[in-house]
């Protein structure tokens, strides 16, 4: 019966579950939807979890695929084409570091961004991945990721002033 111990999969700890929950939240921007997404993804993972070594990455991939499936079912995603001749240097992922906002405004920032952009932001800010790593995880060309970072930066800067306050809110 020794073989049974080998086949037994290791479970996700509370810390890991919370990390994954935050990833789900970044995608959905809703706590209930985030939990549902995590629950469904975990079920799918457990149905076929034997012999998986990078379990967190694998579950993250399932979460992402499930979320995209849901998104596609509700709306057609629109990917902006990227001009490959543009200079990427100005909008590498690290350029996001220079954006200063008021902490209270972060929910508004997330609302401003598309799910894909929020995911990029999550992988950069929380997981600490580089542009190339984000591109690999999201299975997108690096140029597409850079394009999205560029648009993200413009959108945030247009909405928030130099002090990180919501300009629309101030106008009101």
């Amino acid at each position: 019966m020794a073989g049974l111990a080998v086949l037994k999969f290791s479970m996700f700890s509370e810390t890991e579950l919370n990390q994954l929950y935050r990833y789900c939240y970044t995608l959905t921007r809703d706590q209930t939807s985030a939990y549902d997404l995590l629950h469904n993804a975990l079920e799918k993972y457990l149905a076929n979890s034997q012999n998986i070594t990078a379990k967190k990455a694998y579950l993250q991939k399932i979460i992402r695929n499930l979320f995209i499936d849901d998104l596609r079912a509700s709306q057609r995603r629109e990917f902006v084409s990227f001009d490959e001749n543009q200079d990427y240097a100005d909008f590498d992922i690290q350029t996001l570091e220079s954006i200063i906002i008021n902490e209270d405004m972060i929910e508004k920032v997330l609302a401003l961004l598309s799910p894909v952009e929020r995911e990029i932001l999550y992988f950069w800010a929380i997981e600490g991945f580089s542009t190339a790593e984000v591109a690999e995880i999201m299975a997108m060309p690096k140029g597409t990721i850079l394009s999205k970072i560029h648009r993200m930066r413009i959108a945030i800067k247009q909405r928030f002033d130099f002090d990180g306050n919501d300009q629309r809110g101030q106008q009101q």
């Binding site: 073989g3 086949l7 509370e14 570091e97 405004m105």
Partner: protein, 201 residues
Amino acid sequence: MKQSIKQALQHHLQQKSLSGKQVKQLHRLQNQADEQNKTGNKITWLMTMSIVATLILSVLVLYSVVIQPDKNNMSLLIAEEVVSNHLKLKPLEIKANQLQEINQYFSMLDFVPIHSDRLPEFSEKLVGGRYCSLQGITAAQFRLQDTESGEIQTLYETIYNPKIFNNLPNLDAGEEPITVYAKGIQVEIWVEKGLLFAQTH
């Protein structure tokens, strides 16, 4: 509080956590899957062992029945073949009452038929012989006839190969012949001086 978007997001998400109830639900989900996994593995293990056991048994049966018939089975096969030919009483190819004379006829054999110590009256009863085979091995078949009762006996002699005939009692080792019955006729089988003997009674 103003801070970089990275710090703001980190701080913001840090405040998002599963409730205790949700954590319990997710752990329960994992525990259930683990139990199902164990049960599934037990079934898989039992099925695997059953298949292995069946295969081993099949190989053993095949080996014992087809490849390596046991001693009694081989003795019976020899007896059945000897009795079958004994009952047919096919015409003799050479009629003679001297072994030396018959052996001259058996020039195609790979061995030389001999007198068995168990058959002191062999020369007195010998009436002739013919080529034959035993379990596919070329053999010499002798016909013996009791001068008083007229009873006919058949004697086979062939090269003894243990790989073909298995272990049979060897007179040279002090063993006694094995007695087997086929179609109601008694047959004695033994090995002597490297030859296999089978005689009807």
